[in-house]
Symmetry: C2
Subunit: 400 residues, 2 copies
């Protein structure tokens, strides 16, 4: 893997670059589309490519459980298995082991905002508490690794840094991640300190276990919401000789950008940085401005399947009664397949009729929206009008 | 609509023709793909076209209930609503009013075979009995029309020949059908006699109500499993001046072909005939040989969604354990998108992981298989080797 910076934006950490993998290039900043179980839900690989995506990230945890990483290896690796010819990523399995094992991953945002949404945080606290109690049963951490129970059938499994890397080598993606511990956003400082140290030891073991040099390996910076831990983690992970970096875990909404900026000001400039699991428009601007090159997030496709669609003015839910009689496209300024060919009325009908094609059309639109937003952010770096573009976009886009 | 016969096969009723509609041509015999609720389930219109389909049939009953025929009219009609630029058909609503209202439509085959599957017929008899009792509640027939309850919310509605035609005019398909009564396969001769007479009166009223001459209207021949009623119905419907004909209702497996042949020997030769709701390979050969030009059936997509796939050797269910390690395509001789790009292993994985893309890949394959089988049957008429092709195909294809 090669990474070349084409342009840096003065006074910020933002940069436009090109990552070259053996399966093609990724122009960064880029949004990597999530294909959890070796399929971008409801889409063909051609639809994924046509909407502008350059790379797909699949989940190690899911593929390990089903259909098994050895089967994927036998099929020729992830890309060949799912017929995606472009660059591929797999995560370390860490996030899912903790979140799915504990069943709170879906409900706790990676960026928490107690001020703006008090009731949701209250609810989150309850969910996290329940989840933490559940973790006791579903996932047991020791210095060697994590023993966890499958969310599918309760069967017991164990991930270690060595096994995570072995599984990811079998899956055969172009970019793999070191095994890390993902902590709850509510974890204490003491626990975060312990966990970040463990993540560093696991990073070293992941690197030592990594044999297939055709795969780039990214080390993951953790540290939760604590700036000193983030700073320390960035420093430690920087020194290990990884090909790139992931920034994992959760953040406080109020200082997500400053923490990401802090981390990226420490990480070596000549290697790519992946802000894991983040993809809301405002966060993409904030992430890029603070030095992130890669993003991935399930939100665009997950909310799509519930009828929530991005527009220039913010999200809409197409199941709202007024869209049943709205013969305009989802977003009149959008160039995606869905907007060029179908009306809000039709998409609303498909959702109400519980037709699968609803998920396809909505996912194409949302991914196009996000993937191309990041492409436009990239272009604005090259054109030196990043801030104008950001202000114009965010002035109009209202997160609801 | 124009219909031109290009070639007749000596000693049979089979013919190859071309139907011309204002939205394009259909080379007959042809399999018309079912898009029940204005979407061919899990597929884009482009995928439908690419697999070889020339026309789509939507269901009047479903679209009347959701999203409503007036909304579809406002959207510019069925084709524009669903972005299908080719020829479209709508059925009369009759079949669904009786079958879905009574909830037995999914379980009673249109072709019954008491000899070959005794247990299933026993079960069918029970289901039909229950269904008939339910009909008492859900659908009430009088000479004016049918009062029925929605299978969605139980709300009461009424279809008459006049309202069925009005709804179909709003939906705006190229080919519409006269409103008919679909009887249970178990109905007595006396009831069938009464129903077929009513269907004839309704056919006349449908024709009188039909104002939009841009839409072709097909009359429906009924009569169940009784040859004398079928003969009479073919004669009566022939005389009314329809643009083409549907052959509806159910048949005994042992004489389906002779009954279809009998009907088609009476229907005027210069107009197209649509064998409604039939689509198994052997029945396609039998139907064509006995003078049918058009077919439609939900089976290829419905069984696809359960993992059942056509191959040259018969059906397989890809959820069978042995396919998890089978890296060959569904059918090695198939040229469809699915077979060119994906393995049985991958499709099995998608089904096991409950991924929507499974339905897409399976539906593309099954529709390609059936649509192109009918195209090959057509070619064999033109090439005068229909019987060789039929024997070769059926010797290898085992219906399981």
């Amino acid at each position: 893997m090669k990474f070349e910076i084409k342009k840096k934006l003065d006074g910020t950490l933002a940069r436009a670059g090109v990552m070259t993998t053996s399966h093609g290039i990724i122009e960064t900043p880029a949004f990597v589309v999530v294909g959890t179980k070796a399929t971008v839900k409801a889409l063909t690989p051609e639809q994924v490519k046509d909407l502008g995506a350059e790379a797909v990230l699949a989940n190690t945890y899911h593929l390990y459980l089903k259909p098994g990483s050895e089967l994927v290896k036998k099929a020729g690796g992830l890309g060949k298995f799912m017929n995606w010819p472009g660059p591929t990523f797999t995560d370390s399995g860490g996030f899912q082991v903790f979140s799915l094992g504990a069943a709170f991953g879906k409900k706790v945002n990676k960026i928490s905002s107690p001020e703006t949404d008090y009731s949701s945080i209250l609810q989150n606290t309850r969910i996290v508490k329940e989840a933490q109690e559940a973790v006791g049963e579903l996932a047991k951490i020791d210095d060697g690794g994590v023993t966890f129970k499958s969310h599918i059938d309760g069967s017991e499994h164990r991930f270690t840094p060595e096994s995570s890397i072995k599984i990811q080598e079998d899956l055969g993606a172009d970019v793999i991640f070191a095994f890390d511990e993902c902590t709850s956003p509510q974890a204490s400082y003491e626990y975060q300190r312990e966990a970040v140290d463990r993540t560093h030891r696991w990073a070293k073991r992941s690197l030592d276990a990594h044999k297939n040099k055709n795969q780039a390996i990214f080390g993951v910076v953790q540290g939760g919401r604590y700036k000193d831990l983030r700073e320390e983690s960035a420093g430690v992970i920087s020194e290990m000789g990884f090909d790139g970096f992931g920034i994992g875990g959760s953040f406080d909404k109020e200082d997500v950008y400053s923490v990401v900026g802090l981390v990226n000001s420490i990480l070596p400039e000549d290697k790519p940085r992946h802000l894991l699991g983040i993809g809301e428009p405002a966060d993409l601007f904030g992430g890029v401005e603070n030095g992130a090159d890669l993003f991935d997030c399930v939100a665009p496709t997950r909310i799509a399947r519930n009828g929530t669609l991005y527009t220039r003015d913010g999200r809409i839910n197409v199941l709202n009664a007024r869209f049943m009689n709205d013969f305009s496209p989802v977003d009149g300024e959008c160039g995606c397949y869905t907007c060029k060919n179908f009306t809000r009325t039709y998409i609303a009908h498909l959702f109400r009729a519980k037709e699968m094609f609803a998920a396809t059309l909505a996912s194409i639109h949302n991914l196009y929206f996000i993937v191309n937003l990041v492409k436009k952010i990239r272009q604005s770096i090259l054109d030196e009008n990043f801030f104008e573009f950001k202000e114009r976009f965010l002035a109009r886009y209202h997160f609801k």
